[in-house]
Chain length 370, copies 2
């Protein structure tokens, strides 16, 4: 049964929810009816049970250890995905402040974040890649941050467009840097001390849908006002160690196993970055080799390690590409409806063999159709 | 491995997350590495994949069919638990209305709901069971609802106190009735047409933590104002069939299997209520038989089918009860810290054998200590 199920698995390039480490899924499966020593499934266990609290704290410590997060930061496990963070960030950090929020918009998710922020207070977009169809990332010289801004916000990797900041923007002293890292969380080392908030929904690079990790510098919690809806108040969650209400226990449990895999099987974030660079190069090399057949979306200097986006010369070729790829067990390669084309999401858990199989297919396909 | 895991399972009386049907857990386990025909785990599948959309729609139809929900209502799958609903209900249904919100408070959860509503608009508690330590439920004659109220809110079953409305309160024509049914969802038939909103977090009676089902009459969606934080706006979720953002896919998948179990293995809500009454009677009969040893919290006319709460004559006896119960594989019986004593949560998925085992233990314990 299990061997057969493993055999039926394809290489799944879904942008999220996305492929997960097989060894993690196998552990979850093994323990599903009864978590050893607990007498019940992880899904049936009270969130106040010591066994679950140990799982919660281990997940927190896993984040702290991988990202080198000090006690100056709280690590929160929340629900509602990045979309609720769009509102929570502005509701907590902008309401009651004199400065405005400033946003860098490099793709669809940054744009959606702005749409929520404007409801909460004065919001300014200080860089927008729209004119170039979001194929680019600005450098510090391309915009100017107000030193009295409430915060500077950006999305480190735009899943839909496939553009990624190679390094974080510089925020002036005193302006918290806020990062939506949903689709490149834990894909490489990060200097967390540069951030006020770094957050990510789990379902791309860290676990199943239904849990969002928010790393927040504790001094920022003082901005949260008591009249906020309780669930939207970061301080409530921080004061109660993510147990202000029942957290998504199963999703946190799986996330914890992904963190262990990253530490033990991969060897941490530097090793992960090395693997991710190798994987991405397999595809970008083909885009560079056949620039008129595989037409990359992202400008070369801001290509994403996680989402490789390109078009083929015609809709017919794109359809044929997707159909034939599926026959080679290469799935979910269709680009987002707003951009079209092909998108190969090659998150941490996508094995090198999967990317190599896609690269081989791309070589064959261009040989036959190019 | 599987047989051993089944053997290690205890009777788990946790108030939530809570025991689930073993057959559901076994199905989830079987399919965990690869959902048949899909090439990946349910956790790895895009929420826009047709396979997942079928699962989502089947879960919606499962709710519609069990509760007899017409097309006048939307069925939403949300995150953030009951706590976020406390805010969303008031934010959507009270803001911009001329009437005030009116609340019946019969325990801890009703009280917490009021604490969020007051942030959103004029809120009035028209009945509060505090004087009797929340051991009671009002009848319609005990309070008066303003015919121009924005809504009338109640919690059908207070998990912590173990008191349950035997039938829903009567709201005047034009006043939507709002019900937090988190801990007695699907435990008995309900006349859904009487409700404006009926909602429940899943982790007590319907699935794992991380998903909340909100059944809302569609005309009420017109009250939702565009300036609400996007995730808090019911209309966004209804207009996008619960896919305004990535829903908690795994939790919805498991919930769907629980709905199937309820329909196929139990036979629907009337059959479920019959079983629940039988199970609860096993414990309440002992409370009636030994009223000075097992001191019931709830007044007899409002005893919960789901959470049976009682005290023993001394703290020492309570400790001994819990310790010895654990040795009989009867777990998570400790009452909530705010009430103390014993709480046996006997949700839908608790088998009759589990309740019988607890009743047998209670008989032995009173024989030895009473």
């Amino acid at each position: 049964m299990t061997a057969q199920a493993v055999q039926e698995r394809i290489y799944n390039f879904s942008p999220g929810p996305a492929t997960m480490p097989l060894s993690v899924l196998q552990q979850v499966q093994d323990e599903l009816l009864c978590l050893p020593g607990s007498g019940c499934s992880i899904m049936e266990m009270s969130h106040r049970d010591k066994t679950f609290l140990d799982i919660l704290h281990a997940a927190e410590n896993g984040i702290r250890s991988l990202l080198n997060v000090s006690d100056d930061y709280a690590v929160l496990f929340l629900q509602g995905g990045a979309r609720l963070q769009f509102s929570m960030i502005a509701a907590n950090l902008l309401r009651g402040q004199s400065g405005k929020a400033q946003y860098l918009v490099t793709g669809s998710w940054g744009k959606s974040a702005v749409a929520e922020a404007v409801k909460e207070g004065p919001t300014e977009v200080i860089w927008d890649g729209k004119a170039d169809n979001y194929n680019n990332i600005p450098s510090d010289a391309d915009y100017s941050v107000d030193p009295s801004a409430a915060y500077l916000y950006y999305c480190s990797n735009e899943t839909i467009q496939g553009v990624q900041f190679q390094t974080e923007p510089t925020a002036p002293q005193g302006v918290p840097l806020i990062c939506d890292s949903s689709s490149d969380f834990l894909c490489r080392p990060v200097d967390i001390e540069k951030y006020g908030i770094l957050y990510a929904c789990a379902q791309k690079n860290a676990g199943p849908a239904g849990v969002t990790v928010t790393v927040i510098r504790k001094d920022l919690l003082e901005r949260s006002q008591a009249e906020l809806p309780g669930y939207l108040n970061y301080k409530n969650h921080a004061d109660n160690d993510s147990e202000w209400n029942t957290p998504p226990t199963f999703a946190i449990y799986v996330l914890g196993k992904v963190l262990n895999w990253l530490r033990d099987d991969i060897g941490g974030l530097q090793a992960m970055q090395d693997v991710n660079r190798e994987k991405a190069a397999l595809l970008y090399d083909l885009i560079d080799q056949y620039p008129e057949f595989y037409i990359g979306h992202a400008a070369p200097g801001c290509r994403s390690l996680m989402n490789v986006t390109y078009k083929l010369p015609s809709d017919e070729l794109q359809s044929a590409f997707l159909t034939q790829a599926a026959k080679h067990n290469l799935g979910s390669l269709k680009g987002h409806r707003s951009v079209g084309g092909i998108r190969a999401s090659i998150y941490n858990a996508m094995p090198r063999e999967g990317v190599a199989a896609l690269a081989d297919f791309m070589k064959d396909f261009v040989a036959q159709n190019g």
